[in-house]
């Protein structure tokens, strides 16, 4: 790789981040169209894209971003409103920007066409806007403070007592007060103690005076200019109180309230003293935050580096090997009773554990990394279907293994599609049903033990179990006599080929149903559960392991072979006499006063030889019920580093992998869900043959 290519690939990575950030900020902007901080973020991202694009040979990207910047310049100035149309164009632009980064798309006919059409859309927005601008200028001509300048606010105190005869030459003092107020935030206190009684009252005279506080971006000249026509005919005092917006200070507001209720005159010296004190306090606070920021900034500078995921995979592999080697060392030390080796083996064990935990946390990434995609998906889909949907994500800081996140994207996409397409109703219908027009989809993620739970909730139409039932009967999945409870009916959705959508739409597509979701989640050792109340909404809960490569397991022995059962599946372990198991009726054994179905693994795995007198039954959770697995004996807890089986074993279902034990022998890792499924089908077939 030449150095230029190197720079380019770095830029592409950065730019992808920037585009992602831009997209994210734009979506936020939709809900907060006037938030200056978000607009700043939009700018920052565009700025980097424009500058970098030009430097690293992405001229089209740079040029395109320049056009976008023009648009958002007007937004920042407050001249252009963030409308849905505007956002649609910019989001399309973001999509195009992604293509402009991609070597396969740059310069293709499609890209160029899209490029030109978006540029002309943007130009037409600016043109329409230019027409409006004259009017906008007319409206804001006098205060002459554009939003851009509104950064450095100062606060002024203005004492204005017009001469008695000021109205004689056509002056209306109220216009002046108005003009002053239009320059910023203000507080006006009128002074009416000079207003005489009715007998002496002359309607052509002005008896009122005003005390005003104004925070404005203008300088003192702008303030005194207001009074330029009358300065010879009035008492006018203008004092700059502070180089900040004092209306943000509570104690200042309080002080002005005092002035307002108190008819006595404002003594400028007292006021200045008060402000001086206030400024001092504020400065102290600012200094502190500035200090804190400075130190934070320093920390931030070194907290993150970019590492290719390949390197992380390599690291994880090495750590796995290390864990295995360490297990051998511990075993050897124990067997030889070598006292010199023992402390070394122990510290290696400790370090390996720390190393393993550390390496794992590196490969964990927060769910947040895929939220933008979902937000966009929900937005675009609901737009296309004329639905109003708010998408909220809670707990997106929850971290999961990178590989899990990657495989999670598709099933989640599908769940969201379902919610938008079939779940949330059209706004009018929702209103009819007494719901808010805007539907809501909430994604909630949280830790639960060694698992992460992701829950997607919508407040849409829900699923009618009777519809499922009818459909299942139509499809021959169940018979009309079958009695199924609510949960069992909902679980039918996971059966391959089942889909309740009456019409095929381009959103949810055809043929891909919840069964695919379930299969994908299962492939990453997760579980998916659905719950729904017709008319109220649907909950889909996904339970996932934190990581795939190392599992906490229970090492068990059957004859001469050892197996690992994932600890997360294990509920309880019972010691049971062999005779009790051998004579069990219908493969049921009573444990804890409960009849539990069990599988006798010694038999199922076709192991030869005599069974021990006392055997053990490991009770595992299976689809909400408890199922026993009878084994010879439990060896103990074991950290299993999962290794894939060779390709010859790819098609079997019951074993999720193998692990190397400390003594170099191999233990198979059982996938209990699949084992139970497999045996139950197997036994049914056997019975039918009989």
């Amino acid at each position: 790789m030449t150095s230029m290519e190197n720079f380019q690939s770095k830029f592409i990575e950065e730019a992808a981040d920037n585009i992602n950030d831009l997209e994210n900020a734009l979506l936020l902007l939709e809900d907060n169209p006037e938030d200056a901080e978000i607009i700043e973020r939009v700018f920052r991202a565009m700025h980097s894209l424009k500058g970098g694009g030009a430097m690293f040979g992405f001229a089209m990207l740079s040029d395109f971003t320049h056009h976008m910047e023009n648009i958002y310049d007007q937004v920042r100035e407050g001249n252009l409103k963030v409308t849905r149309d505007l956002l649609n164009i910019t989001l399309d632009s973001v999509d195009l920007m992604k293509k402009l980064l991609d070597k396969d798309h740059i310069g293709t006919e499609d890209t160029v066409r899209e490029y030109n059409s978006l540029i002309s859309s943007m130009e037409s927005i600016l043109k329409i806007h230019a027409g409006n601008q004259d009017q906008a200028m007319r409206e804001s001509i006098n205060p002459a403070i554009s939003k851009k300048e509104q950064k450095g606010l100062s606060t002024y105190y203005i004492h204005f007592i017009p001469g008695l005869d000021i109205m004689k030459n056509g002056t209306n003092p109220l216009y002046l007060i108005d003009e002053l107020c239009s320059q910023g935030e203000s507080l006006v206190i009128s002074r009416i103690q000079n207003v005489p009684g009715l007998e002496e009252f002359d309607i052509e005279k002005c008896y009122t005076g005003w005390d005003m506080f104004l925070s404005t971006a203008g300088d003192i000249n702008a303030v005194s200019d207001v009074f330029m026509f009358v300065e010879d005919e009035c008492t006018l005092d203008i004092h700059k109180l502070s180089d900040s917006d004092l209306f943000e200070e509570e104690s200042f507001i309080k002080k002005t309230e005092e002035y307002r209720s108190d008819d006595s005159e404002i003594v400028i010296n007292d006021l200045m003293e008060f402000i001086g004190q206030l400024n001092k306090e504020r400065l102290g606070k600012q200094l502190n935050t500035a200090k804190r920021k400075a130190t934070n900034g320093k920390d931030n500078a070194i907290t993150s580096i970019r590492v290719s995921s390949e390197k992380i995979d390599q690291l994880m592999n090495l750590v796995s090997e290390m864990v295995i080697t360490q297990a051998s060392l511990s075993l050897y030390t124990e067997n030889t009773q070598n006292l010199d080796l023992q402390p070394i083996a122990e510290s290696v064990q400790k370090l390996t554990r720390q190393l393993r935990d550390n390496a794992f946390s590196i490969s964990l990434i927060p769910l947040e990394s895929m939220m933008t995609r979902f937000q966009r998906l929900v937005r675009d889909l609901s737009d296309g279907l004329d639905k109003e949907i708010k998408f909220t994500a809670i707990g997106t800081e929850t971290e999961l293994d990178k590989t899990i996140i990657e495989s999670l994207s598709d099933p989640l996409m599908h769940i969201f599609r379902n919610s938008v397409d079939h779940g949330i109703e059209l706004p009018d219908l929702r209103e009819e049903r007494g719901k808010k027009r805007q539907g809501e989809i909430i994604l909630k993620a949280f830790y639960s033990g060694a698992n992460v739970i992701i829950k997607v909730t919508d407040d849409g139409a829900g699923i009618d179990p009777q519809n499922i039932r009818q459909k299942a009967i139509d499809k021959g999945i169940i018979t009309s006599e079958s009695i199924l409870n609510h949960k069992e009916l909902l679980n039918l959705l996971f059966i391959p080929g089942f889909s309740t959508a009456k019409a095929v739409t381009d959103v949810s597509g055809r043929g891909v149903g919840m069964d695919v979701v379930k299969r994908k989640i299962s492939s990453i050792h997760g579980e998916v559960d659905i719950d729904s109340v017709a008319g109220e909404g649907t909950d889909i809960t996904i339970k996932l392991p934190l990581t795939l490569s190392i599992i906490d397991g229970l090492l068990v022995r059957i004859a001469k072979s050892q197996y690992v059962i994932p600890l997360s599946m294990v509920d309880k372990i019972f010691a049971v006499e062999h005779t009790k198991l051998a004579n069990a009726y219908n493969n049921l054994v009573e444990l804890d006063g409960e009849q539990i179905p069990f599988y006798y693994l010694r038999e199922e795995f076709e192991e030869e030889g005599e069974a021990p007198e006392t055997e053990e039954v490991v009770v595992v959770k299976f689809e909400g019920v408890r199922v026993g697995l009878a084994i010879d004996s439990v060896v103990g807890e074991y950290q299993a580093v999962l290794k894939p089986l060779g390709k010859f074993y790819k098609n079997q279902e019951t074993i999720s992998g193998a692990t190397i034990l400390g003594d170099g022998s191999i233990a198979l890792v059982l996938d209990t869900n699949k084992i139970i499924n497999h045996f139950s089908n197997h036994n049914k077939i056997k019975e039918e043959i009989k």
Partner: protein
Amino acid sequence: MEKTILIVDDSESIREVVSFTLESEGFKVLVGVDGKDALKFLDGSNIDLIITDLHMPVMNGIELIREVRKMDDYSRIPILFLTTESQTAKKMEAKEAGATGWIIKPFVPAKLIAAINKVMR
């Protein structure tokens, strides 16, 4: 309601630029070429603001202001005059005569509107 502004100036170009600006702002504009000419509009009909030059051959701005202030119908209407920065003395004289404010020449449309906004809504 549409506001009526009377512009008085002997310079055709100034009259044109001022009336163009004001008309495009939606004001109704009346034009007088000098003080005397302007008086013909002050017949009791509605006028909301007068903008007058000070130097005019027949009846100058100061005289016009004094005349207007004597009329019952217009004694309280705002009057702006056009002047240049250097003419401080003239400014004082005009103010004393009863002018409300002034517009400094040369001006850009925004300045003109800003001055009008100070005295009329």
